[in-house]
């Protein structure tokens, strides 16, 4: 059996590793000169920055991605991060960090509520595990339960950091699935060597299984006969395959199918694709001699104007920066209406950093923004349309087809695992 994979991002390489392990002849085509897509290292002034991700697995060594890597035999060491911390103003009632702040552990968030709301929250934490709320956004649901703007701030910084969305954009069902996964798999972790540590390990598996990865090779068309995929077109040449796994999202995949998807039969699918919204974000990469965070946990910043959270990956792997330096990266969600004003959004982010790290010395290494064709997430969490397409033998993997409750690369892994089950049984 022959499988062709379009795109050597994380989703494509995971699929290629799994299929080649199962005995498939696998060929991966990647348009860029490098593999890994939005999950690899970019070397910049001696630092291992990244093409996208924050060198972080949302569920660390216990999550779906770690599990899938182990299953395919990829040799990656994933180190669990320390406790996620919340930076909150010192004085109750202040809405910024100007007059001082303190950090509290994430699980202590109810401590900032009134006694009554604290009791209510404790009750909700217990009861919602059995009776999951549904049918609204996270923010709308919170507002029906507890009238305290702190919880909305907290929800926004958490959703902004982990999904690059606002709490009013995320279905409450998706959030409770995520919370359940946090109980199940635990919090984040950092792969040694950063994102590229994972990509290198996957490539080694694919090579050992006889799979082939071709970079600088773009797929220009997906070939379909009688509703079934037959291969792809590369540089005008036809390559036949029994299965085609596309790592480029549903919309771009449909684009490559061309007229094969025309006709009434496919109208519903194409209409659904129109509703998919990629999420946007800005990452600011900082270099500092003295640590800015000082621990390996994520620092969420609910009282910043734009920045949702920050991590310091050199607390886990010092090799991600030159000797004596730390690499600290902030993330901010960008609302769809602000994508046209990225410079203003970046300005607000830089201002936030001054307020979050007053008196600390750091340099801004690189500011990276992501939206539209190269986004944080191809399908906003909670809207993923699954891995199948109307074409037999053609599947979509990656962050345009994440599994339910899967934050970013964990969702990519869940989607790949589900696809492999469909193909391999």
């Amino acid at each position: 059996m022959k499988a062709i994979v379009i795109g050597a991002g994380l989703g494509g390489l995971l699929s290629a590793a799994r299929l080649s392990k199962a005995g498939y002849a696998v060929e991966v085509f990647e348009r860029l000169p490098i593999t890994g897509g939005r999950f690899t290292n970019l070397e910049y002034e001696g630092f291992q920055l990244s093409s996208g991700a924050f060198h972080m697995f949302p569920h660390g060594p216990g999550g779906p991605l770690a599990r899938l890597l182990e299953e395919v035999g990829a040799d990656v060491q994933i180190v669990r991060s320390g406790q996620t911390a919340l930076r909150v103003p010192l004085k109750k009632g202040s809405t910024d960090y100007g007059a001082g702040f303190r950090d509290i552990p994430f699980y202590d968030f109810p401590a900032l509520l009134s006694n009554k709301d604290r009791l209510k929250t404790a009750f909700l934490i217990a009861s919602t595990r059995k009776n999951r709320p549904a049918g609204s956004t996270l923010q709308a649901w919170i507002k029906t339960q507890v009238k305290d703007e702190w919880l909305v701030r907290l929800a926004d910084s958490f959703c902004g950091w982990s999904l690059s969305l606002r709490s009013e954009e995320v279905p409450v069902e998706e959030v409770f699935e995520i919370i359940e996964n946090l109980y199940r798999f635990g919090g984040p972790g950092v792969p040694m060597g950063g994102c590229k540590g994972v990509i290198d390990a996957l490539e080694a598996v694919i090579a050992a299984n006889g799979g082939i990865i071709r970079t600088k090779t773009e797929v220009s068309k997906i070939l379909v006969e009688n509703g079934k995929v037959t291969g792809v077109l590369v540089n005008g040449e036809e390559h036949e395959a029994d299965q085609v796994i596309s790592n480029i999202g549903h919309a771009a995949t449909a684009g490559l199918c061309g007229e094969a998807l025309s006709g009434e039969k496919y109208a519903g699918y194409l209409e659904m694709l129109e509703t998919l919204q990629p999420s946007a974000g800005i990452k600011i990469c900082l270099s500092a001699a003295e640590p800015l965070i000082g621990h390996s946990g994520v620092l969420l910043t609910p009282y910043a104007k734009r920045i949702n959270g920050i991590n310091e990956v050199t607390q886990v792997d010092p090799k991600l920066a030159p000797p004596g330096r730390h690499l600290t990266m902030s993330h901010q969600h960008v609302a769809p209406e602000n994508v046209k004003d990225l410079e203003a959004e970046i300005e607000l982010g830089l201002k936030d950093l001054k307020a979050i790290f007053p008196g600390k010395k750091y340099e801004v290494l690189l500011i990276q923004s992501y939206h539209d064709g190269w986004p944080v997430n191809r399908a906003a969490s909670g809207t993923d349309p699954g891995n199948e397409t109307p074409i037999t033998g053609l599947y979509v993997v990656g962050d345009g087809a994440k599994g339910k409750g899967g934050i970013e690369v964990e969702g990519v892994a869940l989607g790949v695992a589900a696809t492999m089950k469909k193909i391999l049984g």
Binding site: L32, P33, L342, I367, Q368, Y370, D372, G373, W374
Partner: protein, 53 residues
């Protein structure tokens, strides 16, 4: 070398330019240090870099 409207500002090109000739702020911009070598162009994930030949 021209950077077109497709640019999202991801900075990928900047990490492959050996001349440090790209500044990124929401969008990439080539500085005077650019020698038009074209090395950066194929690394752009959204085909925003046009090299004149």
């Amino acid at each position: 070398m021209k950077i077109n409207e497709n640019c999202v500002g991801c900075g990928q090109c900047a990490s492959f330019c050996k001349k440090g000739a790209i500044e990124v702020l929401g969008k990439a911009r080539a500085t005077d240090a650019c020698i038009e070598c074209g090395i950066c162009a194929p690394y752009c994930p959204v085909r925003a870099i046009e090299v004149q030949v």
